[in-house]
Symmetry: C2
């Protein structure tokens, strides 16, 4: 059991972590930090944190563990503000969707304390934001990826792993670059595709009027993540810019090939592309769906 | 109550219709027709049809209502084979995802019987195929679109409407062209996007290995429809070729704009595109999701 856990940024992820940990005896005291006093008051009422402070540095000055759960664009200013105040023994982790940038910034800003930083990313979330959407079971049976470096302290990794295990997560370690490349394809690109699909419909008045009338399950499901926070996803996209552009280009090439097959009425080509995608998708998920 | 209903093509849609209708007293006898005798035997065992015949013409020769629920590419050969045998009073409908082509073919093949043909499209389905995946509640609360012409007999429209109402569908009429344009955007394009997303991951060995490990809910949801039948979707895509190519082009343009914004790190542009998509998507679905 640790004495003081500080969560900086008490939104969907930070709030759900607080809610889940307060159901365990894992931390004696969970203190929230954030820009909005109203949000922090709500977080206390919802049971996500025990109390709050508005100065991150002050909150962290006697913390055992700090979880930075704010948006990626705030990460470096938060780290600057707490770096000097952090006790030597304090462990720091984050929940950002992109890991290389966070590692670079914390190496720069934490200096000698850098080995106590454990980069993390819970593969959990919904299209909703804010502490009002938080729930205590968000991480149960979800993958939590940690991307520690060789220099990262082993006991720091252990503590962060233990925290995620306490809320039901399945923790795995990964190389930060490999994480960022894979997430560009499996999460960041899908968000762009979903936003662009809704936007394509919006460009077309006739479609716009008919869409609600005619949207079957496929449109609703495929656009669910287009209800996610635009600011957060602009942030993630720009932070993972290079990997995301690479996979967008691959996607664009694939789409052009399908369009050419469609244009030349090449049924074999269409069936072959659709077919190999189906086989792969079924292999990935169908066994899992049967279990679930 | 009608005496004899014939369902040609007893798969997910035809089978679910049979299962649902057999729970009502809407038809005295439901007869299945299909290419595979094994499938028809299974359909009888599952309770989707009362009996089956392998000759479509024979089955239809004393039918009151015929539902063509085979794939789009089989539509015209099925219609050719039954056209002469259809009683004058027999009503015919279909469930195809594209309506203009079906109307053109039936106008040609049914001749004087054409006013008894009611083009239809239930906006219901799953990524699975075959009668084994059929279930009796598939159409409940789902939109069923009919696209009759001015020449279509009013009592034919009424009978088909009554059939779908009997299985819980919410029936609406629409112009066939408007239907095909809207469906290209809300259903056919999403399938292409999902197939292409899985295929993009497949092109990249490193991604392929990491994808299962790292796929969060977004990837799983957005690729669900990539588990759909490749043959059926090649069929639908080619049948709605022009409209689908149009909306693919619009989509491609939108993607290029997002990629340029990403490349030039234009945060405002990204937030603006993502933001208007989010607002529109929330308007379409959030009220409904709260109800549901």
């Amino acid at each position: 059991m640790i004495k003081k856990l500080v969560i900086i940024g008490v939104g969907l992820i930070g709030g759900s972590l607080g809610l889940a940990l307060r159901r365990t005896a894992w931390a004696e005291k969970i203190v929230g930090v954030g820009r909005s006093r109203d949000n922090l008051i709500r977080a206390v009422k919802l049971g996500a944190i025990d109390s709050f402070e508005q100065s991150a540095a002050k909150a962290c000055s006697d913390a055992d563990l700090v979880v930075i759960a704010a948006s990626l664009s705030e990460f470096s200013s938060i780290l600057s503000s707490i770096s000097a105040a952090l006790p030597e023994s304090c462990i720091v982790t984050d929940v950002g969707s992109v890991k290389s940038s966070v590692i670079k910034e914390s190496e720069l800003l934490l200096g000698q304390k850098f080995p106590n930083f454990v980069p993390g990313h819970p593969l959990a979330g919904t299209e909703k934001s804010g502490v009002a959407s938080a729930f205590s079971t968000l991480f149960e049976e979800h993958k939590i990826i940690l991307t520690p470096l060789k220099r990262t302290n082993a006991h720091a990794i252990e503590l962060v792993r233990a925290m995620w295990c306490a809320v039901g997560g399945r923790v795995a370690n990964m190389d930060p670059q490999a994480h960022d490349i894979a997430l560009a394809a499996t999460s960041h690109l899908p968000h762009i595709l979903a936003y662009n699909l809704v936007d394509t419909v919006l460009q077309h008045q006739e479609l716009k009027d008919n869409v609600l009338e005619l949207s079957a399950g496929s449109f609703r499901d495929i656009t669910r993540i287009a209800s996610s926070s635009p600011e957060m996803w602009a942030d993630i996209s720009l932070t993972n810019q290079k990997n995301l552009l690479d996979v967008c280009l691959q996607y664009e090439k694939g789409l052009a090939i399908i369009m050419r097959a469609l244009e030349s009425r090449d049924r074999n080509a269409l069936e072959s592309i659709f077919g190999r995608a189906k086989i792969a998708r079924d292999e990935y998920f169908l066994a899992e769906e049967k279990d679930g």
